[in-house]
């Protein structure tokens, strides 16, 4: 289904109102405007592009389903999608842990393996592995606050935590991440 996007100046609430009336063009504009964030969160949480696209698509379809009941003036479409995508990822991780006992798939290292960049690539892989090694909710806290740059209060809201509990969770995540990345610190200082 190819639908021409609408005027990018139209606000999300207006587009959601039209989507509630089953205006496909309005929803197409919303998809193009907000598709990246749920995908990014899902990719960082799950480490798999296909699965991340599945999560992003699922979140966007849920947005379409609830469009008729959308309340304008709330936290916004982006925040709603962030919350839904985060919870979908946590659900998938939980199922993965209780299901096939698979480990997080290794990401393909797309960086060129030139000698000049070998050290940088190794550092990137170490950072990605350090994030992937965090427990699910700690990983989500780091992704939301560090990569998506959400304020703590909003990230706590996404994870259905109060601010104190979230800050405690984030502190534990940062401590673990720093410990994992200590080698990088020493290497850079050397």
């Amino acid at each position: 289904m190819t639908v021409p996007p609408m005027d990018p100046q139209i606000s999300d609430d207006v587009l959601m109102a039209r989507a509630g009336l089953r205006d496909a063009a309005a929803f197409h504009t919303l998809v193009e405007r907000h598709q990246d964030r749920p995908y990014r969160i899902a990719w960082r949480m799950l480490g798999d592009q296909a699965e991340a696209e599945d999560v992003a698509q699922d979140a966007l379809l849920r947005l379409w389903t609830m469009a008729p009941n959308w309340q304008a003036g709330g936290s916004g479409v982006a925040a709603w999608l962030t919350r839904v995508a985060t919870n979908l990822c946590l659900d998938r991780l939980r199922r993965r842990r209780f299901g096939a006992h698979e480990d997080v798939p290794e990401r393909a290292d797309e960086a060129p393996l030139a000698d000049a960049q070998m050290m940088v690539a190794e550092r990137h892989a170490t950072a990605a592995a350090a994030v992937a090694a965090l427990p699910d909710r700690q990983r989500a806290a780091v992704i939301l606050t560090y990569y998506e740059e959400l304020p703590n209060s909003q990230a706590a809201d996404m994870l259905d935590l109060n601010i104190k509990a979230f800050e405690s969770l984030l502190l534990r995540a940062r401590t673990a991440l720093r410990a994992t990345l200590a080698d990088l610190k020493e290497a850079s200082s050397d």
Binding site: V31, T65, R123, H124, L184, K185
Partner: protein
């Protein structure tokens, strides 16, 4: 920005970039939108092999059965004939109408005033047996009759009292048209019973002319028997003429309750104490 990370760690974290979405992702999302239910045609309800008609007929039969049971119970308890029941009787009458003989026997017949034209009570016992009212209904009818009789007697007494005060001779009561119509619509036996009750009430009050004693009746009968046939015929004609005058001009007739035009001579007026010597 990130005080909790060293610049090297921060750079390593930042370098962990996300690959771009695959081309046509938005179109795939649009293609995956669920089809709205409103756009689908209405699904036809799956009907059972025995459709609604079976349920309807069962419900109808149950209702009819319950009606029959309740009808029989009411008929047994209250002793009311089925045809006299308020609702069910209508249906029963429609399904199995009563014989016309019975209906004709119950219906009041306005007849001429001559005794010869009295209807012979041939079918009456049969009809009365078929539509014999329940004791409760008889009681109610008697109560109504008593009330009406009291009312008629009151009216007669008041009128006669007024006339006495004015020094006028007694005059027959002029019934209003509604009362006259009601009397005409009554079955003959009811009308007869009502008039008899009015007479009894007035006698109990002492306002009516006293009934003839046995001696008076015997004297009249003896006088009648001594009359010649011509005298008897003249007396009959005179009496017939007097009755005719009562019917046509009630105000000028002899004292007593006026008979309505439809009332036969068999229903005597409550004030009519002139019993025929023939009787």
């Amino acid at each position: 920005m990130t005080e909790w990370l060293s610049p090297a760690q921060d750079a390593a974290m930042r370098a962990d970039t996300v690959p771009p979405l695959s081309a046509g992702f938005a179109n795939r999302v649009m293609a995956a939108l669920p089809v709205e239910r409103e756009s689908l045609p209405q699904a036809r309800p799956v009907r059972e092999r025995r459709g609604g008609w079976a349920r309807a007929s069962i419900a109808l039969m149950v209702t009819a059965g319950a009606g029959l049971v309740s009808m029989a119970a009411a008929s047994t308890i209250f002793g009311v004939p089925i045809r006299n029941m308020p609702v069910v009787g209508t249906f029963v009458e429609r399904v199995a109408p009563a014989p016309k003989v019975a209906a004709r026997a119950v219906k009041p017949k306005p007849k001429a005033d001559t005794p010869a034209s009295r209807p012979a009570p041939v079918a009456a016992p049969v009809a009365e047996a078929m539509v014999e009212p329940a004791p409760m209904m008889v009681t109610r009818r008697e109560l109504q009759r008593e009330v009406v009789a009291q009312r008629i007697a009151d009216r007669i007494d008041r009128m006669q009292a007024r006339r006495r005060e004015q020094g006028l001779p007694p005059a027959p009561l002029k019934l209003n048209p509604q009362m006259r119509e009601r009397l005409k619509a009554m079955p003959p036996e009811d009308r007869r019973a009502l008039m008899q009750r009015v007479r009894d009430v007035r006698r109990e009050r002492g306002t009516a002319k006293p009934a003839l004693t046995l001696e008076q009746k015997a004297a009249r009968r003896a006088a009648w028997q001594q009359m010649t046939p011509e005298e008897r015929q003249a007396l009959r004609e005179k009496r017939a003429q007097r009755r005719a005058n009562r019917v046509t001009t009630p105000a000028t007739s002899s004292p007593g309750l006026t008979r309505s035009p439809g009332v036969s001579s068999t229903e005597a007026s409550p004030l009519d104490s002139e019993s025929s010597p023939e009787n």
